[in-house]
Amino acid sequence: MSIKISGNAVVLKMNDVSTDQIWPGQYVNISDPKEMAEHVLEGADKTLKTRFKTVGQILVSGSSFGCGSSREQAVISLIEAGVKAVIVNSAGRIWYRNAINLSLPVLICPRAVDKIAEGSAISVDMETGVVTLTGGQILQGEPVGEFVLNILKSGGIKPLMLKKHAEDR
């Protein structure tokens, strides 16, 4: 099984979009996912939460996306807002790991943000790291290793752990 995501791009042309911008500190006490779509990326661009509904569900952004804090709301809020995949130049380490654990595919693809237009139809293949643009043009990102791919294929770390600890119950 490969992991391919198709959809329309929502482009946030910024570098260093921090977890403080994805999920501002004033909301850190919110832990119920249902409340999280409401404030997603509020510190970077307040129109994004609507664009994830009206334009598309593949978020494209610049370097060091998700730098900063470990707050997992910075991933859950994106998932709750409908985001199906994220394509960035580079990603903050903890945010990246949280995304993989929660089965949000993140492709590292330098300069994609300069080549993908808002609203354009694209597809991402996580196994090969290839992004296909409208018209067939191809961008080569970094394929994720087998370890990460296995977590994504399992639907994240939670189903993996559930299965592993099934005999505990």
Binding site: D16, S18, D20, Q21, P24, G25, Q26, V28, N29, I30, S31, G43, A44, S63, S64, C67, G68, S69, S70, R71, E72, Q73, V75, I76, S90, G92, R93, I94, R97, N98, N101, L102, F147, G156, I157, K158, M161, L162, H165, A166, D168, R169
Partner: protein, 417 residues
């Protein structure tokens, strides 16, 4: 195979004789810490069918971000954590009077070189100052640790940052960290480890070394390392009598990269709004009016930071039109500041002194900023909205620069007063 001490630590905790950079290991976690704002750890634990905590004595819960809690939601979260701790036999619950996790663990005698420390806080890189493997994780990774006592970790490549020369008086580790961010950027160490070495590191006190390791996460680092010396051991010996047994890096270990800087001429630095690498010498930002000065956080609220600020502020007054918020990093920092008379100096200078903890640094409480306000802060991040309003602006500085700025009401350093 020549190995770095960090790789030897990972090997010893995963039952291997060798670990190479890039290798993924499943490692036993010696110290696992959860902060009060991440109740999602408990949610993930339940989502994954968690029935018992594998090693409850290795787990600590810190009531540090909401100390004391400013909202009913925060109160409910802390209450749930206390119940969770009782239910699963977690005895190490550090209450709202104790301070920030990174200091609390040290002061509780739980930090030892050669171990693995994982906390749900990104600034866990701070612990590398003690010659151990420390890193931050999200809530779900922490829930895995609760269930298994272990976590998968990719052994990082190691970058050696050699800091040579001798810092001028009034130049602090914070200035060094800001200089490195200016020169190397926010992602040069992404997914990698940074070792700090050289004559400057040897000369710095332990709490100043912690600043370098703390700010390394802003350089993208996964973890950090400073080889323990007599200063490290003496510092830790204040809090524990346990044996200290730790590995050394092999002489022929090959670093991923080596950077060397001579910093004898380094001047006080400031990170201007709104990214940590937007750094200039303080002398190029002189005169910017500041509404609030914040001296606090795991970066800039430790005893060494409070001491540096209080010595300058002694007998002086905070400028009219500027306010000073001081949030010490831990209960023991506060206790020592009282004993040394620094508390009195700060109070008389006009500081609002809050309860030790994370406070305003993460935008939580006790000193947030209004629209358009400017704040000079000894904390670690100046991202938009980090400490309050989206339109507020943060200037990252050292404790000495913060103190001089509070008195002048505008950005300055004692050298320029």
């Amino acid at each position: 195979m020549a190995m770095h001490a960090l790789h030897k630590i990972l090997a010893s905790r995963s039952g291997k004789s060798e670990v190479a950079p890039g290798e993924i290991v499943n490692a036993v976690i010696d110290v696992a810490g959860i902060n009060d704002i991440y109740l999602m750890v408990a949610h993930s634990f339940k989502d994954m069918g968690g029935k018992r905590v594998a090693n409850p004595d290795s787990v600590s819960i810190f009531m540090d971000h909401n100390a004391p809690t400013p909202t009913t939601k925060g109160a409910d979260n802390q209450k749930s954590f206390r119940t969770f701790a009782t239910q699963y036999g977690i005895k190490n619950v550090f209450e709202i009077n104790e301070g920030i996790c990174h200091l609390v663990l040290v002061e509780a005698g739980m930090i030892k070189p050669g171990s693995i420390v994982i906390i749900t806080d990104s600034h866990t890189t701070t612990q590398g100052a003690f010659g151990l493997f420390g890193t931050g994780v999200g809530s779900t990774d922490m829930a895995v640790i609760l269930m298994e006592g272990t976590l998968w970790l990719r052994a990082p490549e190691v970058i050696n940052v050699k800091l040579e020369g001798e810092l001028k008086e009034g130049v602090m580790a914070k200035d060094v960290a800001l200089f490195l961010l200016a020169r190397l950027g926010t992602d040069f160490a992404n997914y990698k480890a940074i070792e700090f070495s050289g004559s400057i590191v040897s000369a710095l006190g332990v709490e100043e070394r912690m600043v370098l390791c703390n700010m390394a996460v802003e350089m993208g680092a996964k973890t950090t390392y400073i080889h323990p010396d007599k200063k490290t051991i003496d510092y830790l010996r204040q809090y524990t009598d346990e044996p200290m047994d730790f590995p050394s890096t092999d002489a022929d270990f090959i670093y991923n990269k080596v950077y060397e800087f001579n910093l004898s001429d380094l001047k006080p630095m400031v990170a201007l709004p709104s990214s940590v690498d937007n750094v200039k010498p303080v002398e190029e930002a002189l005169g910017v009016h500041i509404d609030q000065v914040f001296i606090g956080s795991c970066t800039g609220g430790k005893f060494a930071d409070i001491e540096a600020a209080a010595k300058y502020l002694h007998g002086k007054k905070v400028a009219k039109g500027t306010r000073l918020v001081v949030t010490m990093a831990s209960k023991l920092t506060l206790k020592k500041a009282v004993e040394k008379g620094y508390f009195q100096s700060l109070l008389e200078a006009g500081a609002a002194i809050t309860v030790p903890g994370c406070g305003a640094c993460f935008g939580g409480h006790s000193g947030l900023l209004g629209a358009g306000e400017k704040c000079a802060t000894t904390s670690n991040r100046n991202f938009p909205g980090r400490m309050g309003s989206d339109s507020s602006e943060l200037f990252l500085v050292s404790p000495i620069t913060a103190a001089a700025t509070a008195v002048a009401g505008k950005i300055t350093h004692p050298d320029y007063v």
